[in-house]
């Protein structure tokens, strides 16, 4: 009887030891933002967003360089960096959060809420973001979209340009994670 218990115990332990690495990294995550107004549409993309997920704690961290957003027009890029985001003073935007009820071992697609702190332009806000998580053979793909209000992050837009910039900016994200070997 004791031997059976030990055997079961060992089996469970070995099953646990077989798990994949806890940390996964995306070095080339993509974040796009869109501002739709009747005057003009503004779109920018950053393809070098860094993110690490820690599956042992279901935590996620994201960091990006604000000056690495690419715009169609250079004047938009200039205004964004120099006047609105002030990327010399606040070079990075970050997010740190927890993925709620996430089961890393589940194959296929699951939709989960990620709650955490989003910091843009030096201002930190609590946000909750819905993400679609796809697990294919131990690689994770996170995608989704959400909105942020320009006024929440103390971004000053001169009255003359106010009609050109939406009050709420839509943001889409796409992160492909690979095991992060330590």
């Amino acid at each position: 009887m004791n031997k059976v218990i030990i055997l079961i115990f060992l089996l469970i332990n070995f099953a646990d030891f077989e798990t994949k690495p806890d940390q996964f990294i995306a070095r080339q995550g993509q974040i796009s933002f869109f501002s739709y107004t009747s005057v003009e549409n503004i779109e920018a993309k950053n393809n070098q967003v860094l993110s690490i997920i820690d599956l042992s704690k279901n935590e996620i961290a994201i960091s990006m360089l604000m000056n690495a957003f690419i715009f169609k027009k250079s004047l938009m890029h200039e205004h964004f960096n120099e006047s609105y985001i002030e990327s010399d003073l606040h070079p990075k935007a970050t997010f740190e959060g927890k993925i709620k009820d996430f089961d890393p071992l589940m194959d296929g697609v699951q939709t989960r809420m990620i709650a955490g702190e989003l910091t843009i332009h030096g201002i930190t806000k609590e946000v909750e973001i819905k993400a679609t998580i796809e697990n294919t053979e131990g690689k994770y793909l996170f995608t989704g979209d959400f909105e942020v209000a320009v006024k929440d992050f103390d971004i000053k837009i001169p009255p003359i340009l106010a009609p050109n910039i939406a009050k709420n900016i839509s943001i889409t994200f796409r992160f492909e994670y690979q095991p992060y070997e330590k």
Partner: protein
């Protein structure tokens, strides 16, 4: 020229000047001609990473938003999200120099092999876990090992 014609003439001239200015301001895409821009500084990829890891602020003051030339060994070439990216080895296995190549470089990049030595010119944007260089071009015929 009577007064009315003068006003019309001035009006259209002003319109033309404003229009022209707006056209150039809105259509000049930054770093379209990276090959024509002069290089601010040159550095080796391992050295660039070690400088950023040692002191990010001081490295930023030297490299951030500057046109730089980086020499390094190809670690990986990726085509994720329709971007053409060349990663160069840093001084440790966790960090590399991430070079986002311009679209016209795609044919050259496809020929690159891991371990090959290359020289890349682009605009340094800063450092996360990797140093990030955008608008990159290959600036010499790659030397085979």
């Amino acid at each position: 020229m009577n007064n009315r014609n003068k006003i019309i003439f001035l009006f259209f001239s002003a319109l033309l000047i404003i229009g022209g200015y707006a056209y150039f301001e809105f259509h000049k895409s930054s770093y379209k001609n990276i090959d024509a821009m002069s290089t601010d500084t040159s550095v080796n990829s391992s050295e660039l990473i070690s400088l950023f890891m040692l002191n990010e602020n001081s490295a930023n003051s030297v490299y951030r938003n500057k046109v730089i030339e980086v020499e390094g060994i190809v670690k990986e070439v990726t085509f994720l999200n329709n971007r053409n990216t060349v990663l160069l080895h840093g001084n440790n296995k966790y960090s590399s120099v991430l070079c986002d190549m311009k679209d016209d470089q795609v044919e050259e990049i496809k020929k690159l092999k891991k371990g090959q030595k290359v020289r890349i010119k682009g605009v340094c944007k800063g450092f996360l876990k990797d140093a990030i260089i955008l608008h990159c071009i290959l600036i010499n015929t790659p030397i085979n090992e």
